[in-house]
Subunit: 333 residues, 2 copies
């Protein structure tokens, strides 16, 4: 019936670029990001424009490092958390690349790479870029309170990452997107937007289980299984759910939302979140580990919580989705 | 360098379903829609939920007519105009199909079909569905005023269509999506959200010209060239721009936003708009004309205006995009 595992052989992430703000660079991955603005403003007068500018800078830096003009790109996949996804639509406008706008909430990093991988693997385009971002000040204003309000945060709340990631997908490179598994949305009744980890963990479970069952592979076949931004709360829930279903993660589960901040010193409560979280950790931490050979075969599962302030006010729970990419270092088996 | 025309041979729209409200069924296409609710509410207590319900009904009807369970669908492409695209995320949740959320504003109908066509043509999935919607009352609340406010509308304003369209894309059918041309976003300084036709016409021009120049085809090779929702204002601008560039449309230009309402009797000013506009006209008018052989080879170019209320308040102009599909009746040359 349905192919749960889609082969995208021949599509490679040949380059990744990360752009972040101060808090991200103060964390455990500090120093490994490509571009940092300690003011978080990127020279812009509004936070929305700051986020647009982050995407503009990220794609510009990707083109510069790749040594490729925009004309050589057949597709640009972009998405973010601003209403009407304007960080991407405005931020990427100047490059003049055929553009498909996405909304996958915080799963957008994997969604863009998944579509880019199909487009390249299928020979529809020879080169694509995928860009996404989040900004703490735009996201908090939309989903919770403007930061100027100084609202108290609950222990399960996550800290929206100020960051943008841009990726080049083409026919050769060090890291192959050899398989993808697009996620099925799951809604388990969680209505608390300050606990998105709980809303997203069942979606991650669903996608991981579908992938493992359909591919016949085991968790132990992979060096690491990276989730996008479940954070400490959602990460614990996922581990419990996997153990209850008979899986043995054995320390392989890692989460970009846990990796990006120091929980003890950075007051982030349950860890990082936002489209930018998994994107900048992929660019600055996961890809380098694959390129250097420290890891050879990993799963990357970005998770998204697809509510809006309106659906929450109208009493509805949070649907979540998790898209999986299998990333393999060239030369791995 | 860039392939402007992407071949998606072997991908067919084998079924389309339209769901609309009262005003749409009162117009010139009345009687040709599949499902109509004269209350526009679809039994729901809020307009946002009404729109979600339209999408749920549209996909449900598509599955019923196709005689296919959700398990036979490898991908579901969904998108709409609600903040965080919740009409799709909530409306399509129950079907449990791997889901990629899109934001292309009113170009979403073509964007979803374009990605579905690549996924099927490339052999990544054997069957995909693309669904989109708009609802007059949700869209006006987000972008202009709640309808209860009774705001006066300007002559260039368009009327957001209350409608959802769902499409089945698989390996055989009567209408092939034989080529696609994803749009490059264009921003020409238009800041008036009551004149989106003016903002979108240059994007349509750009995509049509890129397609014709790259494919070596002429406008006269096609029975009709359908734009999504330029309406009367944007449609006139597009025709002027094409003539100025030396093209001769010769009556081939049609627009879904002009076709769906009667301008003289329905008080719609510049015509219809919204993701649902091009989707329901494609399902109820264009596809039947291709299936019946009245037309054999057409271009379908859905246009989207990608601003948000915030970007407009912050003084920015409206970026627009137009995605093109070449639709050919099976048996055509």
């Amino acid at each position: 019936m349905r192919k749960n595992v889609i082969s995208t052989k021949g599509a490679y992430i040949s380059l990744g670029v990360s752009v972040v703000g101060k808090k991200e660079n103060d964390g455990p991955l500090g120093g490994s990001f490509d571009i940092v603005d300690p003011t978080d403003s990127f020279g812009m007068p509004t936070w929305e424009q700051s986020e647009q500018e982050m995407q503009r800078i990220a794609l510009g830096e990707l083109l510069r490092r790749a040594g490729r003009p925009p004309e050589e790109f057949g597709l640009l996949l972009g998405g973010d958390l601003q209403n009407q996804c304007t960080a991407s639509a405005y931020g990427l406008l100047q490059y003049g690349i055929p553009y498909l706008g996405l909304y996958g909430a915080c799963s957008t990093s994997a969604e863009g790479l998944l579509i880019a991988a199909m487009a390249v693997s299928g020979g529809f385009v020879s080169r694509a870029a995928a860009v996404t971002s989040s900004h703490n000040c735009t996201c908090e204003r939309i989903h919770r309170n403007p930061i100027e309000y100084g609202g108290q945060r609950t222990p399960t709340a996550q800290w929206t990452v100020t960051g943008a990631g841009a990726f080049l997908v083409d026919g050769r490179g060090d890291v192959e997107i050899c398989e993808v598994c697009p996620g099925i949305p799951i809604e388990m009744g969680v209505k608390d937007t300050a606990n998105m980890g709980a809303a997203m963990a069942p979606a991650a479970l669903s996608t991981i289980e579908r992938y493992l069952m359909s591919s016949g592979r085991r968790m132990s076949d992979f060096d690491a299984i990276y989730t996008g931004d479940l954070g400490f709360e959602g990460g614990s829930i996922l581990e419990e759910l996997l153990l209850a279903d008979g899986y043995t993660p054995d320390g392989r589960l890692k989460d970009c939302g846990k990796l990006i901040y120091d929980r003890d010193t950075q007051d982030v409560h349950s860890g990082g979140s936002g489209c930018g979280c998994s994107a900048v950790v992929l660019a600055s931490y996961i890809l380098p580990r694959l390129v250097s050979g420290r890891e050879r075969d990993v799963l990357f599962i970005a998770t998204g919580a697809m509510m809006s302030p309106d659906t929450i006010k109208q009493g509805k729970a949070i649907p979540a989705v998790a898209h999986l990419l299998r990333l393999r270092a060239e030369g791995g088996m």
